[in-house]
Symmetry: C2
Subunit: 334 residues, 2 copies
């Protein structure tokens, strides 16, 4: 395992310390917590607060989306492990601006359990919460069983829509409704070429042949839908985009945002080669591309692979997608 770390036990805490040292004017810890960050100016009075969270090892997910016009706070756990309910609760108290708190995270058992427990604690303190859960991964369950689908990179759209809606002064119910709409309109499919290594485990999360790829594999190495020889970029784009299009289904005349996400060790040039073909397929299908995102938005440390997400837009969602936002991590301060 080749990583630039000090010890496997300290990875998460030292990463967080580094991030807080890097962006002191923008981010701070919630009082009494170790593994949370929140906006320096939170709580924002009269605004619905939004919290996300999940396992570490997916940067910019989850911490990197803490920002203005995005999320008010984020709680993380160990690498690929859920944050604690107690820390989520304390973060909830810290960011609550009097208008309720939306919990927005991916569909994983441990995360659901801990966010639900935090919601119960918040209720006892008279803090209203609502929950929206990302379920964009079409490879993880059939269309009829959406509640079983995992949340992956497509949660980007839910973050952006939720953040913009909350910033507009909307109520908790309105923010939840728009967030749910973004989630319902988003579909993702991934491909993995090589595994990553959880520091505390020390061995790769799965093994795969030097000439193989696995379509539909999850970002923690969950089993995909098809393992086979590594295909060309165009073939991979075709397989994944077709599955994504058929699932919603996206139709001629639709307008979509496209996200080509790198899992960590995939060079940006490969992501643009994928986007090239995806945009051709969409063009042929009469689907118009609006504001694509090409880069690393949800990673699995040094895993090699990519995912393709489509989010169907309407006038409301477009306006919210275009709303200004700022995260010190994502905007990289250029």
């Amino acid at each position: 395992m080749k990583k630039i770390i000090n010890s496997t036990e300290k990875v998460v805490d030292e990463m967080l310390e580094g991030m807080l040292r890097a962006y002191p004017g923008h981010l701070k810890r919630a009082p009494g917590t170790k593994r949370t960050v929140m906006l320096a100016e939170a709580p924002i009075e009269g605004k619905v607060a939004i919290i996300t969270g999940g396992g570490s090892g997916h940067l910019p997910l989850f911490l990197g989306y803490t920002g203005k016009g995005l999320l008010d706070g984020t709680a993380v756990g160990d690498v690929f492990s859920s944050p604690s309910s107690n820390e989520i609760f304390k973060l909830t108290q810290a960011v609550h601006g009097g208008k309720g708190v939306l919990y927005l995270y991916g569909n994983y058992g441990g995360d659901i359990m801990n966010f639900d427990m935090a919601a119960e604690m918040a209720e006892e303190e008279d803090i209203e919460t609502a929950t929206a859960i990302g379920t964009d991964d079409v490879a993880s369950a059939p269309p009829g069983e959406k509640q079983k689908r995992r949340g992956i990179a497509g949660i980007l759209y839910a973050y952006k829509i939720a953040g913009a809606k909350a910033a507009s002064g909307a109520s908790l119910q309105e923010v939840k409704d728009f967030t749910d709409r973004a989630i319902e309109n988003t579909r993702t499919m991934g491909v993995a070429l090589s595994p990553c290594t959880i520091p505390a485990v020390g061995v790769p999360t799965f093994s795969i042949g030097d000439d193989e790829m696995e379509i539909g594999m999850g970002i923690h190495g969950e089993k995909g839908v098809e393992r086979g020889k590594l295909k060309t970029a165009d073939e991979i784009a075709e397989t994944m985009t077709t599955r994504v299009i058929e699932d919603l289904p996206f139709k001629s005349g639709d307008e979509v945002s496209v996200l080509i996400n790198g899992l960590g060790a995939t060079a940006p040039q490969e992501l643009f080669i994928l986007f090239r073909k995806v945009s051709m397929i969409l063009e042929d299908a009469g689907i118009k591309v609006y504001k694509p995102f090409v880069g690393e938005y949800a990673t699995s440390m040094e895993m090699k692979g990519a995912s393709i997400s489509l989010c169907k837009l309407d006038t409301d969602l477009k306006t919210l997608l275009d709303a200004p936002s700022y995260s010190p991590f994502l905007l990289q301060q250029m």
Copy 2:
């Protein structure tokens, strides 16, 4: 070699096609060229234009810095190969807004030859050019031989300062002077843990033991200053930061921007762990950190490693570093 590509010959052209498809309102090709991009609104009348270029395979370097308040145009070659002088010249004609063109790129023989030839062609067309060359890599030659030093990730500061100064309406000489000041104030040192593979070559650029690292290795795998066992993040930060500080030298009371750059396959959490220690070392040395950058700014495809850059700021440089800029690639449109 596991890459998401169609063929080794098409990597650069298809990557460019993908990028132009992704950002059509922002970027276009210079007329008569295949491997350039320029701002959609260029030439900008009455503004000094800035052009960079170099080999492909380093995204966001070089293409990604084409943007408002940054660079007007970029020419690239094959992976790790210089752009052609003819394309640089055509790009020069296309972006020239009547106030001259600054060529700003890293210190590599092929790039110098081709940019110099383009400058001669431009002179024949009465287009004034000036040149500034990035030489931030302290590992590549001793302090007395700065003209031999390679340019690596620290060129980010030269781009930002040059772009902001040009946007302010300055003359070609003024833009060059400020760019040279940014270059003179910037020092970088890198470490490599694993190699990358040039698509057309098909085998890794170098070999290194499973438990080894090489301090000072260049971004194309050029020999470094010290190969040894992989050390801890804090030890790596200490070695590299000390070398960088001593080289300028940076002194107590100085204010610096810090860039922790990932080479491609290094997880963002490792970069923040490095930043944590670098910021402690600077604190102890009485050097104040202003606006750090932590992320991937100059990569070598799937190479694992990182670099640490410091740029000494003064009042002018701080103002220019804070000036607004926008690149569709870098800002990722959040």
